[in-house]
Amino acid sequence: MYQKAYGIIETLSPLHVGATAGEESGNLNLIFRDPFTQTGIIPGSSLRGRFRAEMRFQDSQDEQYWYGHEAEPGVPDSTTESRVKFEYASIVWLPVFCPGQPVVWVSCPRLLQRYKRITGISAELPDLYTASDSLNALQIDGQYKLFFNFGFLKLAGKENLQAWFPDGQERSAVIVADDEIGMIHDMALYRQSRVKLCDEEKKVEGGQFFNTEALPESTIMVFPVALRREEELRDWPPFGDNTINEDEMYFGGLESIGFGHCWVRLHRQLPQT
């Protein structure tokens, strides 16, 4: 049985983990999405690669030991298994800005279910269209409604959703159905048109026009980590040494223009001794 841990990511800037080539839609570079809910994810391989690169900056650490030995050309059986297994990071809460109302964090049962499974919290899954106590919504004809750009969402009831936020904060939040979150997610993405300007003067170089989408800042994500033995989990030093459990990291692309900046916190679920 593996030793379990999990990581919480909060994006500090837009996060763009690009989809595979061939998935572009016209000149829009899409982000990688989970096929079930159509929401953005960070694949486990991206996580592992980033952690591995991070360890290269640490002189005293051996990335090959923790994250597997890479293949050497011409040497058979040169690879080793990674001691740390990463699964993909999925969204727990996605902040949505809509004109006329404060930012609302949105999630759906499937995403919350995964969060619950990974973190082991005991809270009951809230009903559909439940809003958090602190949500200020428009009251139209006695009915609380939130506007998302495909229409109005009627809210069912309110309850305290603090347990579902990793930091225990009460935020303005609402739960929508698994088949609706994709739509809301797509309107919440940070979108930007980019143009390439000529080298010599400030005007657009013909045809050099493309669009970028990215998860917005303040998105909250979760990813599970597994290690084989208890002492490995105790000794694993992802952020420099094994007593540090949180740090800033960069994930995904477009780092040089301010994308991908994240806060990562590791929760080692060590048995109580």
């Binding site: 004109p99 930012v103 940070y190 400030k202 005007k203 223009i257 301010g258």
Partner: protein, 550 residues
């Protein structure tokens, strides 16, 4: 109906449903806030966070103050030009824009470091590879009070066709820009750098800021207070005049009026010596513009304006600027010889603008507050008056007598424009000029002048003709005729009180004012209009104190 509660940002942009950029002519003054642009902003701001997000730890930040307005186009709405809006509702200057501007400036400051800072393509063993740079550009957020909705709603009003060429239709549009924001920019590096190197990195960024950031920089948008951009000329001046208005009636001194005036005069003067098409082409090369299917043309010159806020009194109708600095920027000129030639050209242009036109709203008339005979007697503020300050007094053309003025119009202006078209631009002349109402052509224009040696209380003679009923033979009223123009019809006369200087022993001595009246007679006038026009020109010639100088 829920459909009517949908925020404007998500409505179809069609008439009757939503047209954010349209200015509704029926909504004036206090009602302006019912224009959709104001509602759009109100909806945007209602839920937006009060304070700009903080850059995370490890990001180096610096703040810079923008001298007037700042506009970037997110490209996200086909309905309105607006900034990128971040996840919390705060406007945002994207890191990608910042990186592009930085890379361009880096070329001139530390050309060898572009690859290190910004990345690029390198050739390794004959294959091209992308190499990342070490810096990350986090963009910028406004950190001062940017949330006053009436400040955010800006307008664009292209009126060249209407003012120079013909009475073509013209209309203004809304756009969203930030008014005097203080922007906090963030840069971080993926490896530790020394303090010295950070100082050099910010030096590159300040160079980039010097050129202006965002859109419309050539009209004065996106400049920082202490800009370092290469300047062709800096001119200190003072002025007073009718204040520009926002749609909701608030006054705002808008520095883009200088570019509008200089660009318009460039067209007029060139349109007097060559064809319309060539005049347009040269004007676009100098000041930028759109070239139809070929996209846009980046101009060689830009305009920025700065003044200490304490030097500017903005009243409800009238502004008085005690001292300001107009900078003509070099945006894109590498050739030193061309720079020198441009300098000569721009000095001619500025001299001309000061002598016969003014700057800003109601520029075709001298300030009524200052020069109208019955100061208490006119109903509303009209006109403007500008003067050079300090060393720039040398930009006044000294005149001893009428012949000096006549010589200046032929040699200093008309012939030098011909030389510019032929020698500097390598284009052909056309004796007929462009077929525009205000092309500067001897057949289309008459300039009349009168010396007035009253230094302190000079009074305009011509303003009485515009406003007073006829009371004597020496006063011919042309009140409310096609010559003076009216609302929504540009008149055919300019009138100016130009400070009169003479040169003695190499020094400029102020003697009073020269009153200039410029007339563009209607060459197709018929009936009453023709009679009024002929009658008035005859009066100028035989009765008035004015003499024709061009």
């Amino acid at each position: 109906m829920d459909a009517d509660r949908v925020p404007l940002a998500f409505r179809a942009q069609i008439e009757g449903r939503c047209q954010v950029q349209r200015i509704n002519p029926d909504l004036k003054g206090d009602d302006a806030a019912h224009n959709q642009a104001y509602i759009w902003v109100k909806e945007w701001l209602r839920g937006a966070l009060q304070d700009a997000p903080e850059f995370p730890e490890g990001v180096k930040t610096k703040e810079y103050e923008i001298s007037w307005r700042f506009v970037t186009n997110s490209g996200q709405d086909d309905s309105i030009i607006r900034p990128v809006i971040s996840g919390t509702g705060c406007p945002f200057y994207p890191g990608s824009s910042m990186k592009g501007a930085f890379r361009r400036a880096c070329k001139s400051v530390f050309p060898q470091r572009i690859l290190q800072y910004c990345g690029g393509e390198v050739v390794v063993d004959g294959t091209r590879q992308t190499q990342p740079g070490i810096l990350r550009f986090h963009g910028a957020y406004p950190v001062n009070h940017w949330k006053d909705k009436s400040d955010l709603v800006d307008l664009v009003h292209p009126q060249q066709n209407w003012q120079v060429e013909e009475q073509a239709a013209h209309s203004a549009f809304f756009m969203m820009s930030l008014f005097q924001p203080t922007l906090r920019f963030g840069i971080s590096s993926n490896q530790p750098l020394s303090e010295t190197e950070w100082a050099e990195i910010w030096q590159v960024w300040e160079t980039a800021l010097g050129y202006g950031i965002g859109s419309r920089v050539s009209a004065g948008y996106g400049h920082v207070m202490d800009s370092t951009v290469p300047r062709l000329l800096s001119i200190r001046l003072r002025g007073e005049g009718l204040i520009s208005r926002r749609v909701n009636g608030d006054g705002e001194f808008r520095p883009n009026l200088f570019k509008a005036a200089l660009r318009g005069h460039t067209l007029r003067l060139l349109g007097g010596v060559t064809t319309a098409e060539i005049a347009q082409t040269i004007t676009k090369r100098l000041w930028g513009g759109f070239a139809g299917r070929d996209g846009s043309v980046m101009g060689e010159l830009g305009v920025a304006f700065r003044c200490d806020r304490r030097q500017l009194d903005e009243g409800p109708q009238w502004f008085t600027l005690h001292e300001g600095q107009l900078d003509i920027l070099l945006l894109n000129v590498r050739d030193e010889e061309r720079r020198q030639r441009l300098r000569t050209f721009v000095i001619r242009l500025i001299k001309f603008s000061m002598m016969l036109g003014g700057f800003g709203k109601s520029w075709r008339r001298a300030s009524h507050r200052r020069f109208f005979s019955k100061k208490k007697d006119y109903r509303r503020d009209i006109g403007c008056h500008w003067e050079f300050l300090g060393r720039e007094l040398g930009l006044y053309q000294p005149f001893r007598n009428l012949d000096d003025i006549r010589r200046y119009f032929v040699r200093g202006l008309y012939q030098s424009m011909q030389d510019w078209v032929m020698q500097d631009e390598g284009q052909r002349l056309d004796v007929r000029g462009a077929n525009w109402r205000e092309a500067w052509h001897p057949d289309r224009i008459q300039v009349w002048a009168r010396f007035d040696d009253d230094m302190e209380d000079a009074i305009s003679t011509a303003l009485d003709w515009f406003h007073q009923e006829q009371d004597s033979l020496s006063h011919r009223s042309i009140k409310q005729t096609h010559l003076t123009g009216k609302l929504n019809q540009v008149g055919r006369m300019w009138q100016r009180m130009y400070p009169w200087y003479v040169k003695r022993d190499g020094r400029l001595i102020w003697r009073g004012f020269i009153e200039f009246v410029t007339i563009f007679p209607d060459l197709n006038a018929t009936g009453d209009n023709l009679a009024i026009q002929q009658d008035f020109l005859q009066f100028l010639d035989e009765v008035s104190e004015f003499d024709r100088v061009w």
